[in-house]
Symmetry: T
């Protein structure tokens, strides 16, 4: 692994933070090749009528560039 | 939404971080109107006799002020 | 509690962040006495072939020193 | 001035960041006495259909407590 | 809104910080779809012969990804 | 202790930082119940005619909410 | 440009943050040669009797040293 | 001094922050050789029944390793 | 220069941090036009069998957008 | 007060942090006019033969510029 | 790799920062098994009589714990 | 060493970061007496036509004040 790029995304789930992370990685795989990991830098919840409706994560996703 | 306030709370659960977040939002609803979300800025565990007894979160809770 | 030490560890789990925290506390108990808590300061995932293979946490573990 | 409190608010304006700050101070005056200043710690814009619709500031407002 | 990307840009204006923000959002709209907002994280001025010639902002622009 | 709130105050003393902390906790006790601790995050001095006239602290005070 | 110095100033205006920046650069030009730019790192307002009386910026001003 | 280690401790005193620092250095000397200094990175107070019962510091203690 | 983008990359070298920076800029030039500079925000080494095998940098690369 | 400068100093005392702050302000008064305050941003101790020999503070000292 | 520890060291060299990093890793290998990497978080130089006499790095060294 | 000042400079070299540090210390010696060290807080490169033309460091230089 010589050069990698880091891109920032936010992902949401109605279930949990970990489900949001999984969802974000899946979506990243659709457009990026060679995703090697991610750093979760923010955790937020969206609340509506007193209930948590979304668990949102902000992640820095790393993917290796082809030579 | 014109002006909102942000208040900091800590909440604990014997089960998980996400349960602590849910508990904190529920308690906030008792005294605050129009909670719109929260940012989880710290995750801690309390350990006793080698076992995790509490999962604690520190959250910044946002609620919209009435005009 | 008069003087405590803080040591930094990383722990991984194939299941979830919370399982990684539990694993890290268990491993700390093997070599440290009087662990009183931990602060989770980083959450990362390791991805291989498009799937999350490891949930990794970096934790600052506090343990009380004997007098 | 002996003891002061600091409270965090977000305020929005359709015009500019400075208008949002002014709006936030005005709203604070309605419920807080003796506001002495504020520190603007975040500037954000909300975009809709390609245009900026809101200029939002997050401010820490200080007000002096009566003895 | 399920997954969004965050991209960092710098934009300049000879007039004001707010004009630089507006300019940055306009340029982002040319290549990105569904821009939803931006966080202004740095404000700088460029000075030449004693006068401010450019007002520069560094912004994190968020845009929603199509499913 | 299940849910606690954190509020930010500044307090001043003509004597020392520690006296300012003590003063801030005393003032907090007048309006808040169940104060459990505080984190001192800023230390400042006010100088007039070359002499320190005030020792000022900014503190995050934690107090436990009744169930 | 080989070696430059960075100095921190605060400047105030009764009009706006941008006017305070302009004022700070003008004052810097009186005593410093070759000012090349500034980074605005803090924005504050001073409030008196419910109204904003001063817009204050803290800036790191860069100026190039003569060889 | 060629290589040194940095270890983090928390120490408490019923008297003052400076007494807690002194206490932490004394305890460090019992198990570490060649302590050369410490950086105090957190100051906290523990409050019980409205009174400060403990002044707590978190310190990064540096000690030189033997060759 | 009116609008620029900032992208984050990591680059590695078996020789030195500066060689890793050079390598990262070269790789950026292959896919980005008008690279104007980079800010090195992290320095890491990878160790295997007691020896440093890789010098890794994380860089924020700036490139100017065509009008 | 229209424009002020901020300068960083470190000061030491064999007695306490507060004595070091006082010493730093006194020394600043010798070369700077109109010192209005200081922000203490670092506290360190120097240890020799197991005892604290110096209490060191790093301070940002503000002084008002003459018009 | 399941659980790893992170320890902080400072290392010095009369030659360069990279030589100091190499020196720190070599010294770590003497007392720690399975060092896997290090993050360089501070770079400092010591100056005497106008010349740089030491290049000093502060590093967080990671080593894998045996099961 | 009783009171020291800290001043911020940027220095550039066409060769390497370490050469830039050396250049910055040399330039500081021309105007400051008793420079005792420096902390390198930023590393940047300037790129022109795809090649690194300048290695730039931002340093906080400490110098001891005469009594």
């Amino acid at each position: 692994m010589s050069v990698a790029r880091v891109t920032t995304i936010t992902a949401r789930s109605s279930v949990s933070f970990e489900d949001a992370v999984r969802h974000g990685i899946e979506r990243s795989n659709e457009t990026l090749r060679n995703v090697s990991g991610a750093w979760v830098k923010e955790n937020q919840v969206i609340v509506s009528d007193g209930a948590i409706t979304e668990w949102q994560v902000t992640m820095e996703v790393t993917f290796v560039l082809d030579d």
